[in-house]
Symmetry: C2
């Protein structure tokens, strides 16, 4: 029930939100919910909720609604957050540090096993219980530990330089905070971009025009 060939990116982007709301409802001890009630809480239409969920399977029951706990589990499985994938983080500047310290990687299916920075002065410093390693050691580290995900908290130019090597080393997923467009050079890896400055400019627009 989670082999979804043609699920659109619009649907996928809503899944984390479902997961989050269902998690909260579960915490609150609720057992079941209808698409109608969920729509009121989440701000999607009931129709959209049913459509979205039915991309992956019939998780509900007529006349009853959805069981919160099992739907939560299902969506977690669809998202893959029940897996554990080894990941490395590259760039231990302000952003890299914050991402390393702030994100609950484990809750989302990731396990940070190495942190790298090209600034040798940082080498050995500890973040999150892990030593910062120099990027020179990346090759050996990957050969030994076979991480499959990289979190890129480095500038575009560095990302562009490094990515071909990372791809060669078998890194299949990229959480990319740079503006380097990985996907267009390497169409076969999974990329999720976080463009904070784009988001800030979008806010600027909204303030100007709303």
């Amino acid at each position: 029930m989670s082999k979804p060939e043609g699920v659109s990116i619009s649907v996928i982007k809503r899944l984390p939100r479902y997961y989050r709301f269902l998690g909260e409802l579960k915490e609150q001890g609720m057992i079941r919910i209808s698409s109608k009630d969920l729509s009121a809480k989440m701000g999607f239409t009931a129709s959209q909720i049913r459509q979205d969920l039915n991309c992956f399977g019939g998780f509900g029951q007529q006349g009853y609604g959805y069981n919160i706990e099992s739907l939560y589990e299902e969506i977690g499985r669809i998202l893959g957050v029940d897996k554990t994938r080894n990941a490395i983080l590259i760039g231990a500047g302000n952003l890299g540090r914050a991402v390393a310290l702030h994100m609950s990687f484990e809750k989302r299916g990731f396990n940070i096993i190495g942190i790298f920075d090209k600034n040798a002065a940082l080498s050995g410093q500890m973040i999150r219980g892990l030593p910062i390693r120099h990027t020179d050691g990346l090759y050996d580290f990957c050969k030994e530990n076979t991480p499959v995900v990289a979190v890129l908290c480095i500038p575009s130019a560095a990302a562009k330089d490094l990515t071909p090597e990372l791809v060669k080393l078998g890194i299949k997923g990229y959480w990319n905070f740079s503006h380097y467009d990985i996907a267009s050079d390497f169409p076969d890896v999974a990329v999720e971009n976080v463009h904070l400055s784009d988001s800030l400019m979008t806010l600027s627009y909204k303030i100007s025009n709303f």
Copy 2:
């Protein structure tokens, strides 16, 4: 030419990308570009580029294309990054610090004038040349300095508690890193959400299914 009643959010979200690419082309010393050539570089269709730009005005010239410098300026104006809006940052944890230090607020129309945290132990510590202030001083600070934007690097619960006061104090724009849904409680302010954990889960999905 930048009074756009019905420009869709899809178009708006692409503007920062145009701005970024045009900035690079300008740096490279290029003078003009056609929608066709720009489409090759950016990965949008030429048609979409022309449609998007024409939401705001006719910036091109038949038979010639677009002047890069002036289009860059125009889009900057549309985005409002030529303005300077006073902003406060709330939450000086890992994320707040990184955002304060990492983002070029000035280049995007913002000026950070105050940093706040409810943890009194941090008070007085300097970030970016600004002292961390205790949130108790928020009211007086806002009355005196009238910031119009808040960057929220605090947990949902804190955001939910604080936002009504911020709205009352005249804050009109919110760069929201929390999961608290400001827009549904306060439909009249501008909100741009950054949901990093949603993004990470989307990556998880992509890795599982691409």
